[in-house]
Subunit: 414 residues, 2 copies
């Protein structure tokens, strides 16, 4: 009996995700699919379109056996830290045999080579990155260019320079490389299984196909209504979203605006916040506090930072995620607890055995945290609680409906 | 040439205020009326129905010659501190000859006697207050009862016990007593001039008369529209409010709700906040963060505190007004600067001579503060700025219109 892990946001779950789950089981022969899902906030520094409990139920109805929550501090971090934390969770659970991920490139040899280059960075690559960053290019782009250049120069692959550039420009490939890099770094027994994505463009907004990207689906919701999703998401997903429609879903980036304004007005912004620095902080302090979240992020956008980086900086300003806290978490083994959001009844035995083998406590009710972990874990968990309270307030502010707090919400069992 | 000072909130300005201004000039023979007005937040711990600049313009159009702003930290404090700060402002200006105030009781002898009792509290009175407070009665009620009892026992007035109780139960009389007490304490040359209010009930909601209370007018606005005010406020006031209607006015207590929620979610509430204590803080932390401002205040209401006290505690939680800051301000002469909100052109000479004689800097543009005062003044002023930003965000959140920041808003001259 084997188990495959998937790192996901499911924002929202769509037919491409369904396909990935089927393929992951097919390619690995695993009986169980365990998801490691972001909570209410995502890697781009923005709120999920539906809350984590709704997205958990959808995942369970669509072929996933259990859903664990990636702690807020990592779910809203750089691709590298996000991927690293998710793989650390899988390692800690000690019951995951494979990690499967969608990528535009499923050439494991190439992905492995690149991952090794990021783990043991050759001096030429480091030098190239340093130069590019100091010239104002974002770290991600600089590293991609450096690796592409290096592979090309060393003639290590059969790919052309243009191919490599394209492969290294894809966010999904980048995540794949980070997963594999962490597997190498942690000497993990988990085997990587890339699955070639049917859709090539992460941010494609085309919706003329049944399978379209999550961002295209969000765009449909922004302009249309829930009915327009029907074709692109599994029926059971549609039913759950339809039920939540205009009660707690959909939520968009600008539903954070009132909290960003409040945070900026009520306390001075500081640069000891993750993904903020003195420059961003100074420029932020000069912007009108009545600007929306999107307007603020757009006004701060410049060549040195990706929009995601800036959005994360704003989200971390709201949540007051301190650099020293974040460093402390990473220096203390990254993962202090693993929160179970939901499971299928017939996966109960698997979770039970994971609970026994796990190197960190598995939390099924939020209140358990107080007797399960140390001060590091409590501090990390306090960000999860704050993030949940923030999302809950956003929903209330928009729909005048109070969703359950994390302490009220039981683990979802179907 | 003499000048009469009036302490006010003008929330909103009505015909009773107009009458008071006329009477004040008549009784004192003063040429100029100078107002000391609360800014965007009031003594009850709630937002003003219109912003301070709008209320300033109204006051100037309705017979006032100049309007100075009571700093936020005092405008939102207990009746005692509010009155004390306002009189200190008048003393500091060194150009105010009279202080006139509306009160249900205009018997100066009685008011003076009571004020003296509060300044030099006889041991019997102190003892009585102490006992009552420890039995769970609010300080204000305890003091009123103690003074009434004392005056009755000593047979110091011609009033019956019931009369005294009634007189001491009126918020306007209490303020009058506090003004006079401060005049005594500061050995002020300013002469108190009580004016008997036409309306006897501060919180009367009766609107069958042309002159009705500000709270009755606010009630009209809550249920009706701006047209319903016409009869109860001077025409020039009506025109200004009509112009602001649904742009920045009216604002109600619950327009603070999103900021209270944000404040409570984003940072733990502490008891080193003015008007909060451990009990209130503990009870607050157990309440749903999605409750409105009014719902939260109501849920916290208990015998020991007036609703105003609780509302101030919540407002100070939002603005993070620290006890040690507040004590520091009071220990350092109370008034560090005086902000001019507006003046009539022909009062320019009076203000100019006040600027020369004033013991503290008079600020006409907010940016002047940086070269006019010390760190105490800057700290006090930072609360004014925060309060203005909060109000501005409330207006934006409600009407999607950005009013001017305090740094953009020039002094109003008509």
């Amino acid at each position: 009996m084997s188990t495959v892990g998937i790192v996901c946001e499911y924002n929202p779950f769509h037919k491409g995700h369904e396909y990935q789950i089927q393929q992951a089981k097919l390619l690995t022969g695993a009986e169980h699919v365990i998801c490691f899902m972001s909570g209410n906030f995502l890697q781009r520094g923005v709120p999920a379109i539906a809350d984590k409990h709704t997205r958990t139920e959808i995942a369970l109805r669509c072929g996933v056996d259990a859903v664990f929550e990636i702690p807020f501090v990592y779910a809203s971090s750089s691709a590298r830290d996000y991927a690293h934390a998710a793989v650390c969770m899988m390692n800690a659970l000690d019951g995951i045999d494979y990690i499967s991920f969608g990528a535009e490139c499923d050439d494991m040899d190439l992905l492995q080579k690149i991952a090794e280059l990021t783990v043991n960075e050759p001096p030429q690559v480091s030098e190239f990155i340093k130069k590019s960053v100091s010239s104002g290019i974002s770290y991600g782009s600089a590293r991609a260019a450096a690796i592409s250049e290096y592979l090309q120069n060393q003639n290590l692959t059969g790919y052309t320079s243009a191919d490599l550039d394209r492969i290294l420009a894809s966010p999904n490939n980048i995540l794949a490389i980070e997963y594999i890099a962490t597997l190498i770094q942690t000497d993990s027994r988990i085997k990587p299984v890339p699955i070639r994505r049917i859709l090539s463009e992460y941010n494609s907004t085309a919706t003329d196909n049944d399978i379209c990207s999550a961002s295209a689906i969000r765009e449909l919701l922004r302009s249309g209504d829930v009915e327009s999703l029907r074709r692109h998401i599994p029926d059971s997903c549609y039913n759950i979203l339809q039920n939540a429609y205009r009660k707690s879903f959909p939520m968009f980036d600008d539903d954070l605006s009132h909290l960003l304004s409040a945070r900026r007005i009520l306390a001075p912004c500081t640069d000891d916040i993750v993904d903020m620095d003195r420059d961003l902080c100074n420029r932020l302090s000069r912007l009108d506090t009545n600007l929306s979240f999107t307007e603020t992020a757009t006004a701060l956008k410049c060549r040195n930072y990706t929009l995601s980086h800036i959005q994360r900086g704003l989200l971390h300003t709201i949540t007051d995620l301190r650099c020293d806290d974040y460093s402390h978490f990473k220096e203390n083994g990254w993962i202090a607890y693993i929160k179970l959001l939901g499971l299928k009844k017939d996966a109960g035995a698997v979770i039970k055995s994971m609970k026994k083998a796990s190197q960190v406590p598995i939390i099924t009710r939020s209140a358990e945290i107080y007797k399960s972990t140390d001060s590091t874990g409590l501090s990390m968990f306090s960000y999860d609680i704050k993030a949940a309270d923030i999302y809950r307030n956003m929903v209330y502010n928009k729909y005048k409906i109070s969703i359950k707090t994390d302490f009220e919400q039981p683990v979802i069992v179907i």
